[in-house]
């Protein structure tokens, strides 16, 4: 939670980093330091979430992609909280559906991997088609 807030507080820096290294350096960002810090934060976040809910390969991709789609914007101030909410809804909602409507008919991670993987393939193929 704390790390997430810390990352979100740097959303303007993330916006600049998303322009690429050269532009970020031109705008006065110490690119190497920023990249190392963000990678450290990301590893920490990944480690904690994996410890809590178990490994899900495509879940992060799914949450991020849906967040970009839902907001229709690139600014991290909108994308980050949206991705957080999407992730939360998918996990809690999915668990709820499985437990109460389908009577424990399967495990959530399988469903998430399937839909996330399908989404990943879809985007991959769409990019290749362009």
């Amino acid at each position: 939670m704390l790390v997430g807030v810390l990352v979100w507080r740097r959303h303007r820096l993330l916006d600049v980093l998303s322009l690429g290294r050269d532009t970020a350096v031109n705008l006065g960002v110490d690119h190497t330091r920023a990249a190392v810090r963000i990678l450290m934060a990301v590893s920490l976040l990944t480690a904690v979430s994996t410890a809590l809910v178990g490994p899900m390969t495509f879940f992060g991709f799914m949450a991020a992609t849906l967040a970009y789609q839902v907001t229709g914007r690139h600014e991290h101030r909108y994308v980050l909280p949206t991705a957080f909410l999407v992730g939360l809804c998918a996990l809690v909602g999915g668990q709820f559906v499985l437990e109460h409507l389908l009577g424990h008919a399967g495990t959530l991670s399988v469903v998430v991997e399937f839909t996330g993987g399908a989404l990943f393939l879809y985007f991959l193929l769409r990019k290749a088609a362009r």
Partner: protein, 251 residues
């Protein structure tokens, strides 16, 4: 003033900059010309601190570009490379707003917004301000990038081949806007350019490079002579004075 002292750079065993020492005085437009592989872009990229040198140093107003804090440097010198492909989808106004980052850290103040509008106006981008970059033509996009670096409000502006992929009309208007940035905004503009005639007609000084060295430097009148141009490009060039500019004919 930009000062280069004994600057060297090699990619593997190939030397691209060979002990270059050079001064670029403040004010006006300085063009860097020379054949492909002469080291023009490499030199500009090192001055703009996007690339480290193997030896020697570059100072801008006495500050070493390699160890001055990025933010301080970003308020004094800006650089635009040739290839700019962003993965994020931005409008022109958002892109130009990024130019204010060194000053405001992304929190745009009223003054920033005024500067953004001024930069948009300066490059005739007001009607396009809310369009996305991927909806623009190459020339319009190039103008938007230049607006971003002008909006950064730096004394020194480095542009790597700003005329790349522009047709005649857009190339002329880009050069006029660069000239105007130097004349009315008082910026020191340094450009890498391929067309010697554009360099001749629009710049105050020309730096000619070949094989990683600066071989000639001077005013357009000094550089635009058959002897100098043949020495730089290894090509016979006839030079004629047309409408007040010295024009090289080499086709």
């Amino acid at each position: 003033m930009i000062e280069l002292t004994d600057l060297t750079k090699a990619y593997g065993s190939r030397t691209v900059l060979d002990d270059v020492s050079l001064r670029i005085e403040p004010g006006g437009v300085t063009s860097i010309i020379g054949p492909n592989g002469a080291g023009k872009s490499t030199m500009l990229t090192i001055i703009g601190r996007l690339l480290g040198a193997d030896g020697g140093r570059v100072t801008v107003d006495g500050m070493d570009v390699a160890d001055t804090p990025g933010r301080d440097m970003a308020r004094r010198l800006s650089i635009l490379r040739q290839e700019n492909r962003f993965t994020t989808r931005l409008t022109v106004r958002e892109l130009v707003g990024f130019g204010r980052y060194p000053h405001s850290r992304g929190r745009l103040t009223d003054e920033c917004r005024a500067r953004v509008e001024a930069a948009l106006g300066f490059l005739d981008l007001v009607p396009l301000a809310d369009r996305f970059l991927d909806e623009l033509s190459g020339g319009q996009r190039q103008r938007a990038y230049v607006a971003m670096v002008l909006c950064q409000d730096t004394d020194y502006v480095l542009l790597d081949e700003p005329l790349n992929n522009l047709d005649m009309k857009h190339a002329v208007s880009m050069m006029r806007q660069i000239r105007r940035a130097a004349d009315t905004l008082g910026r020191t503009v340094v450009i890498v350019i391929h067309d010697i005639n554009f360099a001749s007609a629009y710049s105050d000084r020309i730096i000619a490079m070949r094989d990683g060295r600066v071989v000639h430097a001077g005013t357009p009148a000094e550089i635009m002579t058959p002897e100098v141009l043949e020495d730089v490009f290894d090509l016979e060039v006839r030079v004629e004075e047309i409408a007040g500019s010295r024009i090289g004919v080499y086709y």
